[in-house]
């Protein structure tokens, strides 16, 4: 497995693959890999001739008060996992290679980034869209794999890809969960034992809301209320947001119809966790 450190080195490797007619899969990550990432890598390794794992803790998507410095870095373990799954290259640039002196260019995706995580993390999706555009131009993938856990990120990347005429298939893979339902996340490492006990309430609350929708509830406010009730009184837990939005536009809906995203973010102590479910109203 090859390790590449600079955009031009990465691109030279990819152009060589393309010249021999090979398709390229990309799994963009910030490292600290878990089973969710593993599922993306397995899909990429299965569907493409060669696959690239990118590992880059992207400073432009962290706010000044966020966990850029603390974010877990586990490079050797990440590479071992990637190699074992059959990835062909790791693209791990450092911040200076990605954002050289006088860096001034940003990709913004409007409207889809106004609600949900965009409200509490105002520059987050500008950083995401920018770094993904850069990764696309360096890796030149045919397919790129993202996890539904970051559902708003998936919608933003899908729209950016369409709008900027990138010829890349964006593949959104299901959320991978712990046995008790907690969505896999690199940030779960921050949780102490008490936090971990409280954390399960997040996925449980979404499960209760899903049962309500399955029973026919179509008023978004009632579904949101159900999640809030299930989260109230959980030790150390503070709700950031609970929202029902259109699954593509990420804009709030009042009546549940078509496909919607029910998404929530909570703080448990200082750790911010997100989770979501997509709900498609059955055809009547």
């Amino acid at each position: 497995m090859k390790t590449l450190r600079k955009p031009d080195e990465m691109r030279a490797w990819s152009l060589e693959q393309k010249r021999s007619g090979k398709t390229i899969g990309l799994v963009p990550t910030m490292g600290a890999l878990h089973e969710g990432h593993a599922s993306l890598m397995r899909a990429s390794a299965r569907d493409n001739d060669v696959s690239v794992l990118s590992i880059f803790v992207n400073p432009t998507q962290f706010g000044p008060q966020e966990d850029y410095r603390e974010y877990p870095r586990t490079f050797d373990a990440d590479c071992a996992m990637a190699e074992q799954i059959g990835m062909d290259a790791v693209y791990a640039p450092d911040a200076d290679a990605m954002y050289p002196a006088n860096y001034v260019t940003y990709v913004t995706v409007e409207r889809l980034t106004e609600g949900l995580c965009g409200r509490t993390r105002p520059i987050h999706f500008r950083g995401v869209a920018t770094v993904v555009a850069k990764l696309f131009n360096a890796v030149l993938p045919d397919r790129a794999y993202f996890g539904q856990k970051d559902a708003q990120q998936c919608a933003v990347v899908r729209r950016m890809t369409r709008d900027l005429d990138f010829s890349i298939e964006i593949i959104e893979m299901p959320i991978i969960r712990q046995p008790d339902g907690l969505a896999m996340s690199s940030r779960n490492r921050y949780l102490n034992a008490n936090d971990r006990t409280s954390a399960v309430a997040l996925s449980e609350s979404l499960g209760k809301a899903k049962a309500l929708m399955d029973a026919g509830e179509r008023a978004a406010a009632n579904v949101v209320g159900c999640v809030h009730r299930a989260l109230s009184g959980v030790p150390g837990l503070r709700v950031d947001y609970v929202e029902v939005v259109d699954a593509e536009e990420m804009t709030p809906v009042e009546r549940i119809g078509g496909t919607v995203l029910l998404a929530a973010a909570v703080f448990i102590g200082k750790t911010r966790l997100i989770d979501n479910i997509k709900y498609k109203v059955p055809e009547s």
Copy 2:
């Protein structure tokens, strides 16, 4: 010569060229071609295996009070010129193909776009950077050709290309002028006979400033003052800006050193014209 109307059609054509190992040159234009564009096309046709002329009057780079609707459209003549020069394809999408429903993604280049034309045309360079990124992703060029007449645009495109890790060589070609010095521009078509007489003052004023710098003047304010004096009293002419800026960062300089750009914009009646010179201080 092939005409392509949609991003995916364009990309399919380009991928076919690339698969047979051919290099691609791109000349992005808004049509209404003149000798300046012809010089870009000749360079592209000379330096690349195949060359693409794009013609797209890009709505996102025009302000609400600007000349988007009036901008000259001369498609048949443009194609005749391109074919005669030996271009291989014309990419002429319509606005709906470029900006479909729910379009929300923009590329911004900060700092370089604050002064000069960016001051009077606040959304202009966001539109330029966005459409050029889209053209790059559809045409997949190895080299792209721009005219120095739009010097700030050249700097913005160069920086965007570097920052977003596009692997494309940006080639800036010299300004082509009428015999009396007026820089070629599609907007020269707007000038009536009196306007045309006044318009020559713009390039003349820059020539006087160059003579001053050649004589050793290094205070930017004096060079700018020289241009203003040369433009004052010209019938129907109103100055938009005269600035001396760093040739890459587009930020104002007080002392002339290294390479600077002296750039000016004027209104003649309702027509806005721009011109510039680059000045490199001789090594002492």
